[in-house]
Symmetry: C2
């Protein structure tokens, strides 16, 4: 079983966390064939935590976990905090495959997303 874990920052504003969970549901509804499920974890201000989601997922038999840091730029959360948390939990699960993707803001598609937003605005 192969799962996607979306790690978001988390917010004191609960609607913001709900928005991330809704996004994950949409991603789950549009998954490529090779991914079985999607989970969300929050670094701060909300739950579940990274530890809880990974332990839960791997306990259920996930053999491969694809981790997407859902952050726009590589600040300290992306380069230090998330890797630190992942390292702590991953060491308890030898033999499972964990793939950490680049943060979403590093995607080459982000520029297109912004310019297409502007083009839509022009049309409205």
């Amino acid at each position: 079983m192969k799962n996607l874990l979306i790690i978001a920052h988390g917010s004191r504003r609960e609607q913001s966390n709900t928005e991330i969970r809704a996004l994950a549901e949409q991603v789950a509804a549009n998954l490529p064939l090779h991914v079985d499920d999607v989970s969300v974890a929050f670094l701060e201000f909300s739950s579940p935590t990274i530890h809880d989601v990974i332990n839960s997922s791997l306990t259920k038999g996930t053999q491969e976990l694809i981790v997407l840091p859902y952050f726009l730029s590589a600040g300290n959360h992306v380069v230090k905090d998330i890797p630190h948390e992942l390292d702590q939990v991953i060491e308890n699960w030898p033999g499972r495959k964990i793939t950490i993707l680049p943060h979403i803001g590093g995607s080459q598609e982000m520029v297109k997303l912004i310019t297409s937003t502007l083009i839509e605005l022009q049309g409205s």
Copy 2:
């Protein structure tokens, strides 16, 4: 003159802010015809500030400013802090048009961006 202002969170890690500036340059290089220029402002930890960029842009003669909150979810920064800062500076510029876009994470294209990332991963 019509300009785009990308407002990012800002980071204590300067490479993160540099990444945002590089993204803005790429957006500028791919602008739709109706937008003339792109600026970046940071809410925290870096400069220029929202006040500085807007005042500078409008002083130079920008008639219309399109503001993109470059945030993934509508937390307090998006729903409170950025509008508050914008309100403070905009009131000094009657007659100029300021359009505030939804935060980038609210784009319907974000799900596609994530799933296309997963599909690329499958192919690699």
